[in-house]
């Protein structure tokens, strides 16, 4: 089926080459970082994880969210998602690849990455995160490719794929739960030491992922002859609505516990993020943009009249996506390191090379996504026409 990705319109090839150019620029920046060390980034002794790990965390959520299509379709036989399900699976593939790349570019000694497999360490959450991410990638590649292949031949998918699909449904929440455990089990990081962390992760994932899928589905309808279906998009809209509300509710729970208990160490990171701490307030504007976007998106989503209008739904989806992107891809990771272990404040902001490398990873993800979507859509167009 791969040959479908090798023929396309002029627009398709321009897009591919733009992505390749960004990847090239990112790669050059990475070579510089490889040579100089991670000191090229904005990270420090105090804020020892930054934009890379934030993006990794956010992308795990996007990957996990594929289950929001797979589950209703395969477990509840919700046929409306039939045309979308492959897009969810392929999005998961591209997101997991980005996760792995963001971890890779964050390593101080990338050449030794295989040590994680050579010395498997069962007590390390990072080891398990690698296991679940790898597993999820393999599952989605096998399932997506096989089901699409059958569709192309006009035959039902082989019987052996069913158990794998059920496994992938159970597997999806695990990747984000384990990722939350990277943070939620650390003594002395009060901002992360929260039993609700995995629940927060999952709810924000199931809002941001489907929001992205809505945007992608609308773009696909505009650019190709393939229509993912109005009703399917509306169903996604409802999923985004409920999970965005849950996500904001969970954040509210964190605020309540921190501020009603009035325990300084529990309040400190929230103060830093939303008001500034000891005169340091670099992230405050960003966090308020996230808050405003969350409120706007909820207002637009909660009213069915607005939500049913696809233009407004698209706008709300963009708002959800960026609100949660800031919250998880930035605030959550940086906030955990501020204040530091000595209750001092060292601020963090990504450097230019750091952003270039991140853009490169994003471009790789988009390239994988473009190629996979091109294949899927061409197959679907051929089957239908």
């Amino acid at each position: 089926m791969f040959e479908k990705a090798l023929t396309g319109s002029k627009r398709y090839w321009i897009w591919i080459f733009v992505l390749l150019a960004v990847i090239g620029a990112g790669f050059l920046a990475y070579l510089k970082q490889y040579e100089y060390g991670l000191g090229l980034t904005g990270m420090s002794r105090d804020v020892s994880w930054g934009f890379y790990i934030g993006q990794f965390t956010f992308m795990v959520g996007i990957a996990a969210s594929g289950v929001m299509l797979v589950l209703p379709y395969y477990l509840h036989h919700y046929k409306k998602f039939g045309r979308l399900v492959i897009l969810g699976e392929f999005l998961a593939i591209s997101a997991v690849i980005m996760c792995m790349l963001f971890i890779f570019v964050d390593l101080g000694q990338p050449k030794r990455v295989m040590n994680v497999m050579l010395h498997p360490t069962l007590n390390s959450v990072m080891f398990w995160d690698m296991v679940v991410l790898m597993g999820y990638l393999v599952l989605n590649v096998i399932i997506g490719w096989t089901v699409l292949g059958s569709e192309r031949k006009g035959t039902p998918p082989p019987g052996w794929i069913k158990p794998l699909i059920y496994l992938s449904i159970a597997w999806a929440p695990s990747i984000h739960t384990v990722t939350a455990f990277l943070y939620a089990g650390l003594p002395g990081r009060h901002f992360w030491l929260s039993a609700i962390m995995a629940a927060r992760f999952l709810s924000s994932a199931f809002a941001s992922g489907p929001a992205l899928l809505i945007i992608l589905a609308l773009i696909i309808r505009k650019l190709t002859k393939f229509d993912p279906g109005k009703e399917a998009i509306q169903s996604l809209g409802k999923i985004v609505t409920y999970f965005m509300l849950t996500s904001v509710f969970f954040l509210g729970l964190e605020f309540f516990t921190a501020f009603y208990s009035n325990i300084p160490s529990h309040m400190a990171s929230f103060k830093y993020l939303y008001a500034g701490l000891d005169g340091h307030n670099q992230l405050v504007p960003l966090m308020w943009i996230s808050t405003i976007l969350a409120v706007v998106s909820i207002v637009l989503l909660i009213n069915p009249k607005f939500r049913e209008n696809e233009k407004i739904l698209a706008l709300a989806s963009v708002a959800v996506f960026f609100s949660l992107w800031i919250d998880k891809g930035f605030g959550l990771v940086i906030g955990g390191f501020i204040p530091n272990m000595f209750e001092g404040v060292t601020e963090y902001w990504p450097t230019q090379p750091e952003m270039m490398i991140s853009m490169g990873v994003w471009a790789i993800g988009l390239l994988v996504l473009t190629v996979l979507y091109k294949i899927a859509i061409t197959v679907k167009e051929e089957v239908e026409l």
Partner: protein, 274 residues
């Protein structure tokens, strides 16, 4: 097939050069200090051993800046700890900070005079339940039988999970190449100690309680230079000097509530003549 003597010697010579002799030759060429594998290890004859090494920091013995600097220099000089001007890239094995920063949560509204300004020495706590060891995905950081939390610099992948996990800020990452030079051409390692390995960029490092000195029967460098301010010994030995101090004086540990069971205790002072 038979080979004559000349061919045999040729082959033997080449094999030796690339095999046994080769490693010596290559080492000799790129030698810039000791390899970690060449360090003496614990359990060797004449070494100091313990069930669980620990330390007491007796603040009353540190009277001035000089007392403290001597201790820090002793450690950082022998261990080739690089000096980075940028505080974000700082590498430190033993250092000082104020009371409030050393013991967060223990500060009070009205504090004993002078306490807040006192420079408290900090180093790795060599916890009994080390969070860093729990999270490390490669066992590059591990706990030895004698309680010392150790680093394998050759296995560390530089993921910095241990830095996120350590509640004491005891771990430093090499954000730049410590073997390199700063913008003014000064080496980050001001004076190389050829007796101890240097690190490479991208790995995490920290205090090791001077395992290399213990193996030779010596006290940790900081304790040796502390004039009794840092008492090193076996926490599990009831007859040790360390336990005698813990029996007779009120001591605290950093962030005890987190349950990591630090092996470094502090005598805060205020009663110098006890």
């Amino acid at each position: 097939m038979s080979i004559d003597r000349r061919v045999f010697l040729k082959i033997a010579g080449i094999t030796t050069a690339f095999g046994l002799g080769g490693s010596t030759l290559i080492n000799g060429l790129k030698k810039r200090g000791l390899e970690a594998s060449e360090l003496p290890f614990a359990g060797k004859q004449g070494g100091l051993t313990a069930k669980r090494w620990g330390m007491v920091v007796d603040m009353s013995r540190f009277r001035n800046e000089h007392d403290i600097q001597r201790v820090i220099d002793a450690c950082h000089n022998i261990h080739n700890v690089p000096f980075f001007k940028n505080p974000k890239h700082e590498v430190k094995w033993i250092w000082t900070d104020t009371f409030n920063h050393t013991f967060p949560g223990m500060e009070s509204e009205f504090m004993m005079e002078g306490l807040e300004e006192m420079p408290f020495l900090m180093l790795c706590n060599h916890c009994k339940e080390p969070a860093c060891v729990r999270v490390c995905p490669t066992q590059a950081t591990f706990k030895r039988k004698d309680g010392i939390v150790m680093m394998d610099m050759h296995r560390c992948i530089g993921c910095r999970f241990c830095m996120a996990a350590c509640p004491f800020g005891a771990r430093s990452f090499n954000w730049r190449d410590p073997r390199g030079k700063d913008e003014d051409g000064r080496p980050f390692i001001r004076k190389l100690n050829p007796e101890y390995p240097t690190r490479m960029k991208g790995v995490v490092e920290k205090c090791t309680f001077c395992t290399e000195r213990l193996a030779k029967g010596l006290q940790p460098a900081c304790a040796e230079k502390s004039n009794g301010g840092l008492v090193f010994g076996d926490l599990e030995d009831p007859d040790s000097e360390l336990r005698e101090i813990l029996r007779t004086r009120y001591t605290v540990r950093r962030k005890q509530e987190l349950g990591t069971q630090p092996s470094v205790y502090y005598v805060i002072g205020g009663n110098d003549d006890v």
